[in-house]
Symmetry: none
Subunit: 217 residues, 4 copies
């Protein structure tokens, strides 16, 4: 029952380095986050218990509460973390986009590439899912990502880049397409975000009349 332990050997650099205490704290916090991410992914947010999380860290049960007040709080931290990494990417895409087409292109590509860096969140092969295959559960991180994309799309639309359609339905469709194609993409070998993005973007753009009909391949 050791969990994260104080490093046995100091590196001697005491200047700006965090003290042993701070280090252990940071390590523990990370360990909890990591464990939570894994547990949420395997069991689903609802089914996961705080004890599942700490059990996986090897820390004592009480220790969890030194870092987070509840399962919900870890979930929020996890979501915040993923959002913090995704948001600037989406913002950049918005800023350099000249029209809806270029925005969508960039955003979807960015999202798919982002996905690949986060496989353990969408991680193919969730055992929980096997127990009752009909239910698809979202982890907090996944939920946060979709909300972020939604927000990004809405921003673009508000700025007049919108195509002339029912925008609520459009964003719903967009999210749906990105969500499902992204997930399929992760199961392919090799994982090819460019191809997936091309498919999704063309489908949407031509679907709303922003692209010419596809040439027969």
């Amino acid at each position: 029952m050791t969990g994260i332990v104080t490093p046995l050997f100091s590196d001697g650099s005491d200047e700006a380095a965090p003290g042993k205490r701070e280090l252990t704290k940071a390590l523990n916090r990370d360990a909890i986050l990591k464990a939570a991410r894994a547990v949420f992914s395997e069991l689903g947010y609802e089914a996961a218990s705080v004890r599942d999380i700490i059990r996986r860290t090897g820390l004592a049960s009480g220790t969890f509460y030194n870092y987070y007040r509840s399962k919900e709080e870890v979930a929020k931290a996890l979501a915040a973390d993923v959002v913090q990494r995704l948001r600037p990417i989406l913002r950049a895409e918005r800023e350099q986009a000249t029209d809806f087409e270029s925005y969508l292109n960039g955003a979807i590509r960015a999202y798919f590439r982002f996905l690949i860096g986060e496989v353990e969140i969408w991680g193919p092969g969730r055992p929980r899912a096997e127990r009752f295959p009909h239910i698809r559960v979202q982890t907090p991180a996944q939920g946060a990502v979709f909300e972020e994309i939604l927000a990004s799309i809405n921003l673009v639309i508000e700025h007049g880049l919108a195509p002339r359609v029912d925008t609520e339905y459009l964003t719903a469709a967009l999210i749906g397409v990105a969500q499902n194609i992204g997930e399929k993409m992760l199961h392919r070998d090799p994982v090819d975000p460019e191809a997936a993005a091309r498919f999704a973007v063309e489908l949407i753009l031509r679907g709303i009349g922003a692209l010419p009909k596809r040439e027969p391949a």
Copy 2:
């Protein structure tokens, strides 16, 4: 606090078609299913407990286990039930479809109309969702419905009606679009399945090049 009870004394007429015994059994089974559907919808599958379900039926807790072995089993029954009602509709659409366009048209329309008849499954206003908005939960019935549609699309594609695209991505996109637009549709007032279906179908069909570009509105 008895709910549906077995009559203590039979009136001697045991030969009539369903039989008193069988009738009560069927009633109880239905009561449990109905309660489960409501509970799953209100609390979400994971958060719902067997106790929540039987509490709502008024039956005794032990009685539950005469019909189902666990929450999972009721969920499966619920899924089976919804599938049983959806499947023939989708099959009919497949059988009378002449091309992918006509199939998709029929299937999506059928699905959206079906949704409306099952509002209590998608029931807007799940309080649980409010507590942690990032998480979207699926009820067993919802999961089953999506799986059924997926299967139907795959059948159509296997039978050669497929458009010339990556069919796995296509079905993924299709499901995503139907799923998300269907959900949005349910929250509108008035609920208009035809308009929603038109949007979804045109998006997909034009998206894969099966429809001409949309005229400027």
Copy 3:
């Protein structure tokens, strides 16, 4: 881990007798109450835990909650029980009293006799008390008893039987005297409620000028 068990042999009398189930329930309820009384008395209400109570019954932990929702509820039941037994006695004394003197005489006597029947509530030798002797804890039953006496006194006073004094201070004094002398009485051998009552009553009555000065013994 057997706790209260179903009696092994029925006595064959099935007429008005409670079913086995009801009997066990009644026995369990009593066992819990009894255990709670002992635990409160030994550990004090605050220090006692629900687990202490059920541990002492030998029942399973969950079983407690089939009978009471919390420690507070058992405490209330305990208090209600003691009050239910004390109240009619006090009422009788009030009704047959002709003046304050006769009321007080009757009430104090009744209270002291009642105490003796409830030794296990005031039980001499509370181990908890030894752990930190400065603290005197009241069990819920004790509290209820004092409240009941207080109410009784106030009733008498309201009905004009009051002596001409500051009645709030009078009742306070009365309760204090009864409380402390009663407790001392229980530790004597032999326990003599009559002598104790005589002392308390004379002290109070002469104290408020309702009795002549005591003759030198």
Copy 4:
């Protein structure tokens, strides 16, 4: 969140009377005692936790254990403190008393005046009490005070100043009267210790035949 801290660097002057170190220690000790007194008064002794106490001091949790080994120990210190202040007062009263009447007069007055100076110990409005009103909790200080008075009375009695009564019952009655009237006194506005003392003293003295019957008011 440091509360009282040990200065990180000494200024070299370590020889001054109490010494920096000793001073800080005394300050911390006092801070803990003060916090404990407040916490016990607000929450009751049993409900109060060591954490509650240190939280209120602003000190680190571990620091508590440099001064006291447990909640019980602070309680004892608190009791000792109050006793230390009360004892000389009572002794003085004993020493200048010529008979039981004069002693009682002085002692009760002293006690009631003392009470007023320690309102925060008896502090009216303990929220805990409201949650389950039947239970009256004593703080360690309160208990100590009563024990001290008890001891004082017994001393007087041993020295032959005793009236001709059952002295054990007498002290019990005395304590009871002082305790309850004292408490009521604190809730009156204005708080009048003289009046309260007069009531209590006359009640007891006349009660044991040491005073003539009261004149009709």
